[in-house]
Symmetry: C3
Subunit: 337 residues, 3 copies
């Protein structure tokens, strides 16, 4: 949607250095922006691209404005302001209200007249779909689910049962919410399945990535608070509780009954062991395993990064022979006595 620079500046409360009548109709990177493009500079690493940009305007910090060859929108948080402006310039597609002929809706389900239910969707008993919700093609919503206003289930999403989704939630394709937790009791005859009877309660403004799974609680609910962001292919076990505004990057797993605080950030392929508690404002490094309660905010890590295999193998060999080295030092100490 084309918009004038002056309007963008006013709407997002940025100082404009440049002509307010310039029309923006797309966003682009600094290096390939065109004459009607909005771009941004947030990471100083890209500062050298600024001088050469052909963008119509750039969202940037005050200290970078002098280097801008084009109009500038001054912001304390250029990335966030760019994100908000981009959503205005490229608004998500709008869908006409209505239920596709191929969708199968239980008689006791309630669908808002402003919702769009796409092709080949099924919606189960007693489930409710709020205003302006988009239920994308191929999605399955089981019984007793509540999808609040303005949610977007992109496509092929499955809510198994007893899932409550707050407002403005975004669920990406293949996400499965409310699947049974991994509850098994050992007996001499083999595993006995422990019935998984709880639901999943998800707050407002939560986004869940493609092919991520969130299990229902065993007895009580699995809980994801407001503003949480979960990337693709993550696993959230039964009875997990994730605090508000925590972000979980791709392929991370949180095992059953773990409690993760607010504003945490879990990097990719990380893991949190079951039944532990992580306080607010914790950053977990890529591939790290959190195996004990964390009570102090901060950054936690536990991974070796890769190096040429010969050097790595030599280091591993030395590590495996540390015992001998310790014994040699013991002997030297004794000899020195």
């Amino acid at each position: 949607m084309p918009i004038k620079l002056g309007e963008l500046a006013a709407q997002f409360d940025c100082e404009l250095v440049g002509d307010p009548d310039i029309t923006i109709d797309n966003v682009a990177g600094l290096h390939n922006a065109g004459g009607a493009s909005l771009s941004f500079l947030s990471n100083p690493k890209f500062r050298k691209q600024l001088a050469a940009t052909s963008a119509a305007a750039v969202v940037l910090r005050a200290e970078d404005a002098a280097d801008s060859p084009t109009a500038s929108l001054i912001s304390d948080n250029p990335y966030a302001d760019y994100a908000k402006m981009a959503a205005v310039i490229h608004p998500p597609p709008r869908y006409a209200p209505g239920i596709a002929a191929s969708a199968v809706i239980a008689a006791t389900a309630e669908i808002s007249p402003s919702a769009h239910v796409a092709a080949n969707v099924s919606i189960g008993d007693r489930s409710t779909i709020g205003d302006n919700v988009y239920v994308g093609p191929g999605s399955v919503i089981g019984p007793d689910c509540k999808v609040a206003d303005d949610c977007r289930l992109v496509a092929s999403v499955t809510l198994v049962r007893d899932v409550t989704l707050g407002m403005r939630g975004i669920l990406h394709p293949g996400a499965v919410i409310g699947s049974d937790g991994f509850g098994n009791a050992m007996t001499p005859e083999g595993w006995v399945k422990v019935p998984q009877l709880g639901g999943v309660r998800i707050g407002n403004d939560v986004e869940i990535g493609a092919n991520t799974t969130v299990d229902c609680g065993a007895i009580e609910d699995t809980v994801i608070e407001d503003g949480v962001r979960i990337d693709n292919l993550c696993h959230i076990g039964h009875n997990v509780h994730i605090g508000a505004h925590t972000a979980v990057a791709g392929m991370s797993g949180i095992s059953g009954s773990a409690i993760v605080g607010k504003r945490c950030m879990l990097a990719g392929q990380s893991g949190i062991v079951g039944h532990i508690r992580v306080c607010d404002d914790v950053v977990v490094g890529g591939k790290a395993v959190i195996s004990k309660d964390i009570t102090e905010p901060g950054v936690y890590a536990g991974t070796f990064t890769a190096e040429p295999v010969r050097e790595w193998n030599r280091k591993v060999a030395r590590f495996r022979r540390l015992e001998q080295l310790i014994e040699r030092v013991n002997k030297l100490e004794k000899a020195g006595d």
Copy 2:
């Protein structure tokens, strides 16, 4: 389904300490149980919650009965007996037999009259669906599959082709069974796909988690024996063989042609390298990598757990400088000669 304590005790052969006429109509945790709730005490960690519980009855070990403020069901395995009782009190939903109008069934498929085939399912040529099977909405069953009696495909499950599923199997949403294995032969012109021609044979009482994938065999079948439990987002490669009653926790991967014994337990995010053999009764720690045959039962591990990043980085730096330390000890030893 409400049931009297006396009936529960009789059905599961537990000694009852308390009034057999009390009616139970739900299960709950010790800390939030109500007057008609059944709870359980298995992990001693929760013993302190027992004294304060408002549950109608608690399943527990004989040695804990004296501390119970309410009726007790005495069990040698309280968790397993609780699980069995919970399945009686909260039986899984029953579905009327029949095939949804929106389901698409190949002319040569055979569906038991007692099976329920839900909305938007498709079932391919020559596939057979046994008695009391539930095929949940959005599931795809390709050609030449056999789903034995009492299986439950919760929703959005895909059986690609040539998949045999034993009795009472439970497949969670997004599970893909029978996808092609990763077989590629290198040539100077690039990879050549190796046709994946085998199927998947799954025993009785197997449960497979949400978004888990089980590849078909390259020539022969991939095999999962009776009673195996696989959690969410696991990857089982082509020609893998998993022994009976093995449990595989979330995000674990078993590479092609690996053979895993009976009653093994793989913790989350673990990995088993291709073509190796793991004997019965092996426990693999979280995120561990098994790269060689294991011939002795026991617990195997290989992971560093996370710690504050500064301390971790110092440890890594020392590890990287081990060579220098070894040289210094060499010199000291020489000096001492």
Copy 3:
């Protein structure tokens, strides 16, 4: 499809040692091949099975032909030639052209008359489906996608929007292509979603595994070049660029904006950190984390493999006490001065 040995030899330019009139009608492993089976010997590990095989013919290297008890097809690359022959003997199923009655096709979509669109598929606005394409049951193709000739979307595949798929691509069930990247900007009020506006461009002859996700670019496209092979449950972040003929094994993740060269091989559960660059011809070990640019071809590793937990724990304890050992060596050195 039955075929004579002589025809196979001619078609794939292999020297035949044996009777060209023998008919082959299946492929099998050396150990369980029958009188009409073609088998192969590539890995020397299986050489001992050759002498006892009942196969009608074996594809093998010249140096192994003397040990063959049956007809031999001599090849410099027995695995690749076997793969090509297997595709002739067991051709993939053919589907009659046409669109299933239960498929839902947007008015502006263009479907080649030779394509097969299976049950419960939906195809969005302006998308085009090329000649001989197979769109398997339950697949969702969103708007503005191009699926080139001879692609096979096995089943339950989701192309979100703006996905271009080159010729002969194979997408396995549960694969999600074009999902939003994980773009979030922090503000004092929580995360702001960064609109993900790019698409995904995939070259010719690419295969993508079950439940793998490939995110769209943030502004420009995510790019996967010709001949790339991606296994199950992999995560390809936004704006990633994967060079031609690179192979990515199961459960590996490539974070946003990483650039991976041509002919690389990533072993299972490996990870590549965002924004880095990996040159051509790099091999990444299982579970390794690549956190810095790689500019030299070669093998890179960074993983400890599992061992009995007691021994591992002792090694970890020694590692954690390295500082003390260093201090003891310092003291010994001082004492020796």
